[in-house]
Amino acid sequence: MKGDKNTVDCPVRDVAVDIAAPEGDEDTGGWGGLEFLPGHPLIWVLILSELVVFGAFLLVFSAVRIMDPAGFAADQLHLSPLAGGINTIILLTSGLCAVFAMRAVEHGKLLSCRVWLGATALLGLVFLIVKLLEYGAKIDAGITIDTSTFFTLYFLITGFHALHVVLGLGILCVVGIWPSRINIETGTAFWHMVDLIWVLVFPVIYLVR
């Protein structure tokens, strides 16, 4: 955290008010290891929490499928693996652009960084459009979140994920405006997490049958 602008400006040994400061209390960074990961440590609290939540949802989905495999298989026929597959490749490509943005800022090329971030975000938008088309098709077919357990979980899981894409677009914008190294690293870490979750969500919901 040393040298980070975000550090709160406070004296280190406020404790002296109460009792003498402890001797030999080395500053280990205090993030319990999170500081060894790229980006701001707090983004990793979020990433880990998200992975737990989506992981739990995917396990719940699989467990509930045991109860009604035929129903799940029938409902799954309404999904388009092709649309999901295209979206996977879109997100992977978008992630690649984010890596390039990171490399650009490392070399101090701000313009190039912003262009790559723009490409990242643009692909994110395309992902959302495909997603909306999919949802639209469901709704046209009279399918809603209340139709069946399969579709409740489908809409919840992919919907939560899509919300993260929206949030990620916002984060990309913010770090694009203030493209410090740590900001870009933090923002792209979030974006890669969204990517990572999708490559797990897609096969479990669209493909496994």
Partner: protein
């Protein structure tokens, strides 16, 4: 926060190529009829799909999220996460097949 080395453009592009190809393969696996008895035909595709998924996830973790620079304990934690999901999904499939028979 430590300084991290981002992957080279070459490696990143390779990772992207592998992951994208794997996606297409996994899609194909779901459409192809696997020869063999009902058991294999229903079990094998799921194993392949999940193997592909976890490979992609692993690539993203290591190269895009930069985990390859982190200590082993972090690598272990994320590996454990992926294993739990893969095992969960594969076991569910196994349970479905066993109940059917």
């Amino acid at each position: 926060m430590m300084e991290h080395k981002t992957v080279s453009a070459r490696t990143a592009t390779w990772v992207w190529g592998v992951a994208s190809t794997a996606t297409i393969l996994a899609l194909a696996a779901t459409f192809e009829q696997v020869p063999g008895g009902a058991l294999i035909a229903r079990f094998l595709p799921v194993v392949i799909i999940m193997a592909v998924a976890s490979t992609k996830a692993w690539l993203i973790l290591r190269f895009y999220l930069g985990l390859r620079n982190a200590q082993g304990s972090w690598t272990g934690l994320f590996a454990a996460f992926l294993i739990v999901i893969v095992v969960g999904v594969v076991f569910a499939q196994a349970a479905i097949i066993l109940i059917d028979q």
